[in-house]
Amino acid sequence: MATAYDITTKQAEPEQEGSVPVVVVENLHKTFGRHKVLNGISLGVSRGETLAVLGRSGTGKSVLLRLIIGLDTPDSGSVCIQGQAIAGLALDRMGEIRKKMGFLFQQAALYDSLTVAGNVGFPLEHHRRDMSKSERSERVRQLLAEVGMENDLEMMPSDISGGMQKRVGLARALALEPEILLLDEPTAGLDPISSGEIDDLILKLQSERQMASIVVTHDLHSAKTIAGRLALLNEGDVVIEGTFEDLQQSDIGFVKEFLQQS
């Protein structure tokens, strides 16, 4: 099995400091009721690198992202963001770390009482009080232009399609110029064309911004396109981690089955 940090990505080569992982997950365990979701998972992602976390539904992929951003607490194990362990941090201290992270939720989780522009401007209003209103509006317009939504500023989330909501969610996740990007099923529920557009968008953003990204998906094609490294989960743990080629060459039964069915 390939190790966590020595695999060359297919994207732009991470910068020198990129060899130091900015997100490190070690021996994470999480149980909901009697259902053990994560069973000692360990992962790491460096700057400029994209890791795709694959697996069947219910294997704890989304839970892993929620633990990384601190929305849930692990039963045991640790999550370190840029060398800082997040366990037990107060909400405001955790907020300082979250400012460096962008999160795209599976259902986009847009604020339904705000317009598209309001959603993207929301983090800026709270964290960039040094910016004038016009500067914020301009920044929102730029962010929405990056995701191809610059003509829908005043639309309400309920009036746009699922793919558009994902784009807006992505623009919102990028608002504070994060160093770490967490994407939960960015192409789930989208048609192949929209999925391809989202994949292209993520690749473009990655090459421009050199963020450390973790993409949770069950879409193998999407994972292959956007990520240099893939981790396949089963029963709460990583079965294999490496490039797509590593997965193809694996003799592990579950890996073979997953690749055949995808």
């Binding site: 929620r66 951003i69 929305l71 909400l91 405001d92 955790m94 907020g95 300082e96 770390i97 979250r98 400012k99 992270m101 999160f103 939720f105 259902q107 989780a109 847009l110 604020y111 339904d112 929301f122 983090p123 709270h126 964290h127 009080r129 919102r172 608002a175 504070l176």
Partner: protein, 260 residues
């Protein structure tokens, strides 16, 4: 029977778990409320939501209560030959008892259900998680502002209820027997001290705290989709109204002891 015993244990545990969670939630809200940055804009929005938008409702409730008390008081006082006591009876009944409680219950119904459902809906659609993921403290932005708005607005809404009740109470009486408004107010408030009215009005800040706290707590801990949202709204109203009445028992005794 073991099943009865286990049910009772579950109920008992659930009861204490609920109060424990409420205590932790209250502490988180308090800590968020007193530390900067302060969410002034959201607070103003909530003051409008709780205050201005509840005003017509409490005014109507007050108007109805005024007429009811007027009718009942006139009939009862006439039986005992104490019709001259009508203005004072109406004023004291409205300001000391009915105004605060009716305002609390009406606001509990409108605002409690609204807040509970709104926050529950945000919870189940991960909007609260999105706020947290955006490095914004949801206890400060969502809960502290709403609770503070309830605390600040309840006394003002109570004054509005009282004013409407006194106005319609006088009007209902004046239709039967000539009584000028000036005469009614002068007679009703004669000998009244601040202690007679102010504590009764300001006790509604506690009602506001109860309504805001219960609604935010129920909303922000919701699980289970649309059914969960419905449950949160219902529980917010039921629990807030119940705790409000229970709190009134303690507050009335407290006021009688400290503001005789």
């Amino acid at each position: 029977m073991p099943s009865v015993a286990s049910s009772a244990t579950r109920l008992f545990n659930g009861f204490f778990e609920w109060f424990g969670s409420l205590g932790i939630f209250s502490w988180q809200v308090l800590r968020a409320a007193v530390t900067p940055p302060y969410e002034w804009r959201e607070l103003i929005r909530q003051l409008d939501e709780v205050g201005s938008k509840s005003l017509p409702l409490v005014a109507m409730a007050g108007a109805a209560i005024g007429v009811i008390i007027s009718l009942e008081a006139r009939y009862s006082l006439s039986r005992f030959g104490a019709k001259s006591m009508f203005p004072a009876t109406l004023v004291y009944s409205v300001i000391q008892v009915m105004g605060p409680v009716i305002t609390g219950l009406v606001v509990s119904g409108r605002v409690g259900a609204g807040m509970g459902a709104e926050l529950a809906s945000m919870k189940v659609t991960e909007q609260i998680d999105a706020i947290e993921a955006s490095a914004i403290n949801p206890y400060r932005l969502l809960a502290a502002t709403r609770i503070l708005a309830c605390i600040l607005m309840l006394p003002l809404l109570t004054l509005a209820t009282d004013a409407c009740a006194l106005l319609t109470g006088w009007f209902a009486q004046a239709l039967v027997e000539p009584l000028s408004f000036h005469q009614f107010i002068e007679s009703g408030f004669s000998g009244a001290t601040f202690n007679a009215f102010l504590p009764q009005t300001f006790k509604t800040t506690v009602y506001g705290l109860i309504i805001g706290l219960i609604a935010c707590f129920q909303g922000m801990r919701t699980r289970g989709g649309a059914a969960g949202v419905g449950r949160a709204a219902t529980n917010s109203v039921v629990l807030a109204s119940l705790f409000l009445i229970l709190a009134d028992v303690v507050l009335v005794k407290f006021i009688l002891v400290f503001f005789p």
